[in-house]
């Protein structure tokens, strides 16, 4: 009971702040939390990245295996994206098979990578119709302080950009860097009344789950969108979201590229 009351107070506080044009952590409405990316932290994975988006932490590991292609794309590699919302990451996550939230998370991240054609899947064909590379992208949430979606997207593409295809281990040629052609960036906003709040924190989400994710590629084309949450969205507000998301994505892509350049020199 007292917990419910606390929740109510928190929600009222967040709401009143937003209505007066402020966020509880002092950010501007269109401001992301600080982003910190570390790559190659899991030596046993072919690629990996740990991202901190404020206090939200996600780790993504990429494993490469050889398998059969799908019959309708015999000359293309395969991407399999999976997300585990392990109970370590939040008091509300329960052990068990993936629920609708982790499935949605994995599928939206997957679509961003797939539809931006970030990975050149044709270069992952070893023998047409017989053998192709399978990319397992495993999203592992560590600390859910809000906006796991964008954190996971950034971690996934960062891990992919640092993935080495272990061809020599499987005796199918020399190792090579996974061919990554694009950096899709998802931008998730919380809709509160008629306000758009990017990169919502967990506390901010106490006002509701009205989320919208728009992923765009380096040419500012939209590659994936997802309305998530039980709410109705005004058409004009959606157009605002489109413009906002594309411009924020550009900014985040710059930050990410800079971080990854910095990271090349060492683990940290």
């Amino acid at each position: 009971m007292s917990e419910d009351i606390l929740m109510d107070i928190k929600r009222d506080y967040v709401l009143s702040k937003i209505r007066s044009g402020e966020r509880i952590d002092g950010r501007k409405f269109d401001e992301f939390r600080p982003i910190e990316v570390k790559t190659n932290i899991i030596e046993k994975a072919e690629g990996s990245a740990l991202i901190k988006l404020g206090n939200t932490q996600v780790i993504v590991g990429v494993k490469m295996q050889i398998g059969e292609p799908f019959p309708d794309t015999p000359d293309m590699g395969i991407i399999i994206t999976n997300a585990e919302l392990v109970p370590l990451a939040s008091p509300t996550f329960e052990p068990g098979p993936p629920d609708e939230n982790s499935i949605e998370l994995a599928r939206v991240v997957d679509r961003g990578i797939r539809e931006s054609e970030a990975i050149d899947l044709r270069k992952l064909c070893i023998e047409e119709g017989e053998k192709v590379w399978i990319i397992f992208i495993d999203i592992h949430a560590l600390d859910d302080d809000g906006n796991l979606m964008d954190a996971s997207s950034i971690a996934a593409i960062s891990a992919l950009m640092n993935t080495v295809v272990p061809a020599s281990k499987f005796e199918v040629g020399d190792d090579f860097n996974l061919p990554v052609n694009d950096i899709p960036i998802s931008v998730t906003s919380l809709i509160v009344d008629d306000k758009l709040i990017v990169d919502p924190s967990r506390d901010e989400m106490s006002v509701g789950n009205n989320l919208f994710t728009i992923t765009s590629n380096k040419e500012s084309n939209i590659v994936a969108m997802q309305k998530s949450g039980s709410y109705l969205l005004d058409e004009e507000k959606f157009y605002e979201l489109l413009d906002l998301s594309v411009s924020k994505a550009k900014e985040i892509r710059e930050i990410l590229i800079n971080q990854l350049k910095g990271g090349e020199n060492g683990e940290n």
């Binding site: 500012s220 939209i222 039980s230 969205l233």
Partner: protein
């Protein structure tokens, strides 16, 4: 698999214009046991929707003391697709069920039915691109048939980018080979589109193309909305006639 040409002489492979829907057929009250039901065809899609409730929720700890709990189950029959689908929910159905439920939840007047449950079950008997939108259209009619109070009607349609053109209501080949797919659902009230209840997209489109797509979807939705209304009216009139007899 070579990508075929999808637009030939300004027409689509099935002869449609860019802004043309596939043929739609809607029948209300097709099931006896359900509280409301609807059969809907949209091109080769064949959909049946049932609504149960408001009814008691078991077990009790799933009840919400302030409002009705909505469930939405999108399910494909094993024989609905080219290659037999293993029965039971897969990841795709679970995601579709989630976003569809979230489209209906803000429209159903849940507060009128505290502690109760409203279940929307939709079976895809045959699938041919756009099943999630066809299902929502059927579900929406079934909800009205069940007498569930709503703020309006949900009408859903997809647009796609195909060989560089924005087209309405893509069928299977366009979905598979096209550049982008954008399913959307609207809340319509007083014959007017009020807001967006579902929106997803995958593929590649410019911001302007997305905006163009939404405008086109609105046109399509208004046509579907008329058919939904007609189907409901038809049933209502039949009921009236029966009562008069």
């Amino acid at each position: 698999m070579e990508k075929p040409k999808l637009i030939i002489n300004g027409k689509r492979l099935d002869g449609r214009d860019f802004e043309e829907l596939r043929p739609i057929k809607i029948q209300v009250d097709v099931l006896k046991r359900a509280d409301g039901s609807c059969y809907l065809e949209m091109g080769k899609n064949k959909i049946i929707a049932a609504v149960y409730g408001p009814r008691e929720v078991h077990p009790r700890h799933l009840q919400d003391p302030s409002k009705a709990v909505i469930r939405y189950r999108y399910n494909m029959a094993p024989f609905s697709v080219e290659e037999r689908k293993k029965p039971g929910p897969d990841r795709r159905s679970i995601e579709i069920s989630k976003v569809s439920r979230e489209a209906l939840e803000p429209v159903i007047m849940k507060e009128l039915f505290p502690r109760s449950g409203i279940d929307v079950f939709v079976e895809v008997l045959q699938a041919d691109a756009g099943t999630r939108t066809a299902c929502l259209n059927a579900a929406s009619v079934a909800l009205i048939d069940a007498g569930v109070m709503m703020k309006g009607i949900i009408t859903s349609v997809a647009v796609a980018k195909v060989d560089g053109h924005i087209v309405l209501d893509p069928m299977k080949e366009e979905d598979f080979y096209g550049e982008a797919d954008l399913p959307v659902a609207f809340l319509i009230r007083n014959d007017k589109i009020e807001s967006i209840a579902l929106l997803q997209m995958d593929g590649k489109m410019s911001v302007d193309e997305v905006k163009e797509g939404i405008k086109l979807a609105k046109k399509g939705a208004m046509q579907i909305y008329k058919l939904q209304r007609e189907a409901i009216m038809k049933k209502y009139m039949e009921d009236e006639e029966k009562e008069e007899v």
